[in-house]
Amino acid sequence: MITAFIHKFSSPKSFVNLTEKIYPFLIIFGVSMLIFGWAWGLFFAPQDAVQGNSYRIIFLHVPSVIFAELIYFFMAVCALMHLVWRVKLAAYLIKSAAPIGAMITFIGLFSGSIWGIPTWGTWWQWDARITSTLILFIMYLGILTLHGSFSNLEKADRLMSILVIIGVINIPIIKKSVDWWSTLHQPASISVSGSSSIDPSMLYPLFISVIGLGFTLIALGILTSRSYIFTREKNKRWVLEHV
């Protein structure tokens, strides 16, 4: 049954048809939530008792690093689908998600550095959290480079997927780095079980920023993967009919 389901929805053609109508709505919803969340966070949320106004970069930093990890996790699920069920669409999605993941990881590292200067007094320390996030950024670049270095695209898809699967080990290490080792970075403020050490007046705009960035990135991913599908399948008849 699972196989039938995968085959029905995993053809590049049905992906293109399915996303045709919804991505404009995703962009509008994501960007307006993002503007709403950031306006609330930057102008209306109160100052932090310890950090004053400089804590406000949290509304960029935290959503970015959440999706830096989630996009990688999504790529790992796609890699599994590609390697076990030979789903072509899954490989196309990995290839189109990786640049977005690299971009958002870079924004996460960069905003963290900017945040570090006024609060920690340094923009970079080789602590476990920062270093493992840098490794995640390099993984994204490595995945893209590996895929780009083969002229046989099917082989490139498969090897890229294996690298994605191996790299997923880094995700729990990033998550637990602040608990396993002593770091300059503080431990997590929000736990998976839902408890939070952020005051609600700051947590709501943060939550809205996370939702907004999430939908914006999904829309961006749909756009890049559609154009990548058209490039990869440009000789198929349905693409010629569609474009």
Binding site: I2, T3, P46, Q47, D48, A49, V50, Q51, Y55, I58, L80, L83, V84, W85, P118, T119, W120, G121, T122, Q125, W126, D127, A128, I162, I165, I166, V168, I169, I173, W180, W181, S182, T183, L184, Q186, P187, A188, S189, S197, I198, D199, S201, M202
Partner: protein
């Protein structure tokens, strides 16, 4: 599930298991070397070569900061041991008593000569009014 897919899935599980095992071995053998800093108790028993630059981390002991011009003296504690620190320079704004700190410098004759000071901040975020309420309560 088809046999061929089962085989592919098993291969993947084995690849993942072996690489996770390898990385865990590396991390376990590096163990505390991946820590960013020594705590005061760790530093006092650790065998540190003289002239070796290290990082010390802990809390600034309440009431221990003494300033003389740009010269700052304070105690760093992990609530079991404490180390006196001297620093000449401008610390970050978040450097204050009862707050986390990471110090880069040299440990000489029971004193820590700081070259640079980094402030740690905790995971709590709240408006200033709430902090005042909390201190009152």
């Amino acid at each position: 599930m088809l046999q061929v897919r089962k085989n592919r899935l098993w291969k993947l599980i084995i690849i993942l298991f072996l690489s996770a095992g390898g990385i865990s071995l590396i991390l376990f053998s590096l163990n505390s070397k991946l820590d960013l800093f020594y705590t005061p108790s760790e530093m006092l028993i650790a065998d540190i070569k003289p002239g070796y630059r290290i990082k010390l981390g802990g809390m600034v002991k309440n009431g221990s900061i003494r300033r003389d011009g740009t010269l700052i003296e304070f105690l760093v504690t992990d609530f079991s041991e404490e180390v006196p620190v001297t620093f000449d320079g401008v610390p970050p704004d978040l450097f204050k008593e009862d707050s986390g700190v990471v110090i880069l410098g040299y440990f000489l004759d029971g004193r820590f000569e700081a070259e640079e000071i980094f402030a740690k901040h905790d995971e709590n975020y709240m408006p200033p009014e709430l902090l005042i309420d909390e201190v009152k309560a």
